[in-house]
């Protein structure tokens, strides 16, 4: 019995194709059953996220199973055979691929943790619908151990890799936990929305949105469960916010040093974090010189994100060493022969050692 993996991801297929191949959560059980009816496929797990669609399975004829699976995918999702290039892995390669996916090494945001939860969910779904057995159970359990080990013993998760994440990291280094932090958004653009969502996801509350067009402010405020204020009124709310995200399309600065100095004199020692993601900039650079005020513009945040990404990329080889070391100790358990297989085929081998293509 061998294991295999077939799939597309953000590196091999554009989003237009990935969204056509994406399998809705509700449809996964049906697909699992259908895949298990293909030729020699005896076990299957389907992983479908915004960045990848992958099928893991076990079969006595992996090459045949992969061919059948490609035909199934092409027919079912109505894509032309030459339109999509699936990657296909067997045995050690399939296991290594899954271990790298679980470790976040194959993710669009290197080292991200969301994929770990998505893998667990995909496995749980397959398990609850009876499409996993010994091979998939061993393979996925081991991938979870590898994923945890890589994250705990390397710095693959360290550092911010996006503007939003960099802003959140800085906010946490100023305020500690963001629970209860109050955020004001000046200018209801897409960048403001993304940054505010990052802050809200870490506990920030009391969102105040101000925009020249009040309708847009109300719309974003509703989305973030906040409050909209008119553009003439935002300065009156400065005393009560901890973080300001500004991204107006104004051709001149809208937040000035004297305004902030005046506000800080009333804030009784509370810090203020300003995030200026507008071009041209909304906030006077001199604001950063005010005691207890921290100002970051889009280039400065991008630089932190770039450095974070570079640091994570330097960790890839370390992560691969961790995986290799783990496997040299434990082997790929899903590829070890079961007692029944050993007796029927007369093979010798200790449990946990890789014996491929039985």
């Amino acid at each position: 019995m061998s294991i295999f993996c077939l799939g597309v991801n953000h590196k091999t297929a554009p989003v237009e194709l990935r969204e056509r191949l994406a399998i809705a959560e509700k449809a996964i059980p049906t697909h699992l059953s259908e895949i298990c009816e293909l030729g020699d496929v005896s076990e299957a797990v389907v992983l479908s996220t915004c960045n990848r669609v992958e099928v893991y399975g076990a079969s006595t004829d992996p090459a045949g199973a992969l061919d059948a699976l490609i035909k199934y995918m092409v027919a079912h999702f109505e894509v032309a055979p030459d339109e999509v290039e699936f990657y296909r892995h067997e045995n050690d390669d399939a296991a290594h691929h899954l271990f790298e996916v679980a470790s976040g090494l194959d993710s669009m945001v290197l080292g991200e943790t969301e994929i770990f939860g998505q893998l667990k969910k995909a496995y749980a779904t397959a398990q609850s619908h009876g499409t996993t057995s010994r091979r998939m159970n061993k393979l996925f359990q081991q991938s979870f151990s590898v994923g945890k080990l890589v994250r705990s013993s390397t710095r693959i998760q360290q550092g911010s890799t996006s503007i939003g994440a960099a802003a959140v990291d800085l906010a946490e280094k100023i305020f500690g936990q963001l629970d209860g932090c109050r955020v004001m958004i000046i200018g209801a653009g897409e960048m403001s929305r993304t940054t505010a969502q990052s802050l809200v996801s870490r506990g920030a509350k009391s969102i105040i949105v101000s925009n020249r067009s009040f309708d847009k402010a109300e719309e974003l405020a509703a989305e973030l469960d906040g409050k909209a204020v008119t553009f003439d009124d935002w300065e009156n709310h400065l005393d009560h916010v901890d973080i300001i995200v500004s991204s107006t399309s104004a051709p001149h600065t809208v937040v000035h040093r004297n305004t902030i100095e005046h506000v800080m004199s009333r804030r009784r020692g509370h810090s203020l974090f300003l995030i200026d993601i507008a071009v041209p900039r909304d906030i006077e650079e001199e604001v950063n010189a005010v005691d207890n005020v921290y100002l970051y513009n889009i280039d400065q945040l991008q630089q932190i994100a770039d450095e974070g990404l570079a640091r994570r990329e330097r960790q890839i080889s370390v992560c691969r060493e961790v995986i290799a070391e783990f496997l040299s100790e434990k082997g790929i358990e899903a590829l070890a022969s079961s007692p029944g297989e050993m007796s029927s085929r007369g093979r010798q081998g200790s449990a946990g050692r890789p014996i491929t293509n039985l």
Binding site: I174, F175, G176, S271, N292, Y294, Q300
Partner: protein
């Protein structure tokens, strides 16, 4: 034997500091745990030294400059172990260790060069002991506020410069640091107040210089706290004040 305890303790703090710096430079995550283990080991030897000296003198072992420095170091370590974790500032120990190492190194040199030996009092005055112990414990809290102030300034600089360095991730959030700094100043001032009040009950009042110095230190710290409570000093100003005040407090010790 007491010198052996003191040297052992000093070596522990030096090793702790070096290991913590190495761990911080490599981005290690276990700085806090490592630091606490070494600080506890150093504290045990510090305590053994102070116990031996206490037995020698038959009183609280603060009869000379070396013992005073060790007692202040002991207070700093105790304060760090008790308050550092409560304030979520395990890294406070890393920054405290160089000060403790420096103080104890001076004490070792002093004791090895000219140990004045036993200074047994004719009669033990518990209020004198209370005065001295509380005052030096206050110095421990002030020493730690000095450390928290430095940590605040370093982290503030890192964030303001827009180029967060290696220490950025390891140092605590600046709000935690400014809160801890304020609390340490309050704890230190309460302890010093108890120490000064105890002096009024002593059988024989300390000499004028001693009284002036004690009051001067108390006025400086109480003044900082009063201004902060009334005007809410910016944390950077509060940090600078705590640093300057501790340097002043140390200078007054040399005057005594």
């Amino acid at each position: 034997m007491d010198n052996f305890y003191l040297i052992s303790s000093t070596v522990f703090f030096l090793v702790g500091f070096v290991l913590a710096v190495v761990a911080l430079r490599s981005g290690g995550k276990q700085v806090g745990g490592l630091n606490i283990g070494i600080a506890v080991a150093g504290l045990v030897f510090q305590s053994l030294f102070l116990y031996e000296r206490g037995e020698l003198h038959g009183r609280c072992p603060i009869t000379n400059g070396a013992e005073v420095l060790v007692f202040i170091s002991w207070s700093i370590v105790i304060m760090y172990l008790v308050l550092g974790r409560a304030f979520r500032l395990s890294l406070l120990g890393v920054f405290s260790m160089p000060i403790v190492f420096l103080f104890q190194s001076i004490a070792i040199v002093y004791l090895l060069a000219a140990d004045p030996g036993a200074q047994r009092p004719e009669k033990l005055d518990p209020w004198l002991e209370m005065h001295a112990a509380m005052s030096l414990l206050a110095y421990g809290a002030y020493g730690l506020s000095f450390v928290a102030g430095i940590m605040y300034l370093v982290q503030d600089r890192q964030i303001k410069s827009h180029q967060p360095g290696r220490l950025f991730r390891s140092l605590p959030p600046i709000r935690f640091l400014s809160d801890a700094l304020f609390r340490l100043l309050i704890i230190g001032t309460l302890l010093l107040t108890v120490g000064i009040v105890s002096a009024f009950f002593m059988e024989k009042l300390p000499d004028a210089l001693h009284l002036i110095v004690s009051w001067a230190v108390w006025i400086v710290y109480a003044g900082i706290l009063a201004v902060h409570l009334l005007k809410r000093l910016a944390p950077r100003i509060l940090s600078l004040s705590a640093i300057a005040a501790f340097i002043f407090a140390l200078a007054t010790l040399t005057a005594l």
